[in-house]
Every structure is written in structure tokens, then in C-alpha cells.
Symmetry: C3
Subunit: 109 residues, 3 copies
């Protein structure tokens, strides 16, 4: 038995959750901030048998991997003119930081 703790971006949270449910894994989500990833993030706790670790790692990688995204220019109206970017830019989104922890004992009541 292992406990997989995966810190991922909020924007990938629903997609990862759906993919885990579809593969019959259950996860608990903790709201988290900062650190490993810049934007708002979510920490998933997933308890799995040893031989399922690789499959779950693959699901996380597929649904959360770091990638570039083109962000359209945002009008400064109602916002801060200092942060106005008049042309599309590429930003890095996604990414996951994953710890696989050994579990001494697992119980469900």
C-alpha cells in the first residue's frame, strides 16, 4: 500500500479527478497554495496498492503535465494598466509534484 500525494494546479483538478474516477481510483483533495507550483493548487491524496502506483502516476502525468499555453491579450479596462500585455504570450501551465509515501497500515471503517 502506498499513499500518493500529488500537488497539481487547480485548473487540472477536475480533469484529474474525472480520470481517476474513470479508472476506479478514489482521491481526497486538499486545498493548498503556493510553493511547488505558482498558481492556486490542489493536493490529491490517493491510496493505492503497490502494483497500481505506475498506473496512477501515468494518469497524473497525462492530465497534469507542464505545457505551454497561449494567453490572449487582456484589455486593461477595469484592471491595472501596468499589467496590460498587448500581444498573445506563451505561459507555462500545469505540472505536478508527486510524492509516493510508504504506508504501514491501511484501514477503512
Amino acid at each position: 500500500m502506498k499513499l500518493i500525494m500529488a500537488v497539481i494546479q487547480d485548473k487540472d483538478s477536475t480533469r484529474l479527478s474525472d480520470a481517476l474516477v474513470k479508472a476506479d481510483y478514489r482521491a481526497t483533495r486538499l486545498s493548498s497554495t503556493g510553493g511547488f507550483l505558482k498558481a492556486g493548487n490542489t493536493t490529491f491524496l490517493i491510496g493505492v496498492e503497490d502494483d497500481a502506483v505506475e498506473e496512477v502516476m501515468g494518469i497524473i502525468q497525462k492530465n497534469c503535465r507542464s505545457r505551454e499555453q497561449v494567453v490572449a491579450p487582456i484589455s486593461p479596462m477595469g484592471g491595472n494598466a501596468d499589467s496590460y500585455v498587448p500581444y498573445p504570450v506563451e505561459v507555462q501551465v500545469g505540472g505536478a509534484t508527486v510524492f509516493v509515501l510508504p504506508v504501514d497500515h491501511f484501514e477503512q471503517f
Copy 2:
């Protein structure tokens, strides 16, 4: 030393907390959602000596075990008529998913 991570339903949270305090154990609570249990849930972190694991597991089981509860019919007034149940129903509440993790080192400052 072990770290007990217990995911339980919100509705059992105060009761478990009180039972742990009474038995002289201290827990940190993380707000969590979804996954192991359907409703809103709480993740307890409880650091204990090895020989106290069984006692704490017993406290969790006693205060959070899965059980059936009769839910009285809810009037559709002000709610969604689609979800109106005109007779009492039994629903499963409670339950706990518990991981006991080994701890390399424990420190209090």
C-alpha cells in the same frame, strides 16, 4: 512514531476531535473534499507513538464508523421538487479511511 492520516466526514469531526482530546491526543485538521467519502470531509493528522496506534484506531472507529441513518422526508418547498423524497429513507453516513505512515523523525520547537 507514526503519523495517522484519517479522512472522515465533517459531521463526525467535532465528535472525533473531542474524543481524541479526552484521550490526550492532539490532532491537526485539514479541510478536504470528495474522494474516499462522498460528502464534505476532514483530514485529521495525528502523531502518535507506535504503541498508541491501536488505541487511536479504536477511537476513530468508534466515533466515525459507517452506519445507516434514517432521513426524514424533506419538503420540496424552496427546494428542488425533483429531489423530493416523500418517505423516510436510510442513508449511509460516517466512515473513515485511515493511513498509518512511518515517521523518520519528529520534532517540536
Copy 3:
């Protein structure tokens, strides 16, 4: 690889975060309540190489250690007269409860 889980008081959270960033460590923060520490608290997750555990423990100790603080008398105006303290008092603030957990596998996507 180790996962350091540190439960600290909210008031020390920004200071610890800044000190970790300055030392080039990255942490994820989980909002937590009660338990090990009385006031609102935050749980830091910090993944580190084995030989960095001591340094990070030192950073946590330096920025979060339990200490006494003199609290000026608070006027009962608009508050509860029962809790009025007419002279400065010393209260204990800070403190950290730290678990160092073994990590089987660590991955970043």
C-alpha cells in the same frame, strides 16, 4: 528524499515561506486548524533531499520557535468586558510540530 510536514502558526507562515524561498526550498501550504497548536495554523509540505533535512529543520526552528510575547491591554470597548485584561500579559506564540516522512518515489511532471 524526505517529505517534511510542518504544522506552524499562521502568524509565522509568511516569515517561514520567505526564509525557505531565500534558501531555495519550495513548500506547499495547506490551511489547517486546531490540534497541535491552539491558534489558526498552516501545514507546510516541503520535499527535500536527505542531506537537506537538517538545514530545513533549522530554518523552521529559527522562524517558528515557541516564544513569549507581551500583549498590551485591550480596551473592553466593543468587546466582551469579561475578557478585559487591564495590564500587559505574556502569552506563548509560535511553535512548530514537524514530521519527517520517508519518500519511496518522487516525480515532477
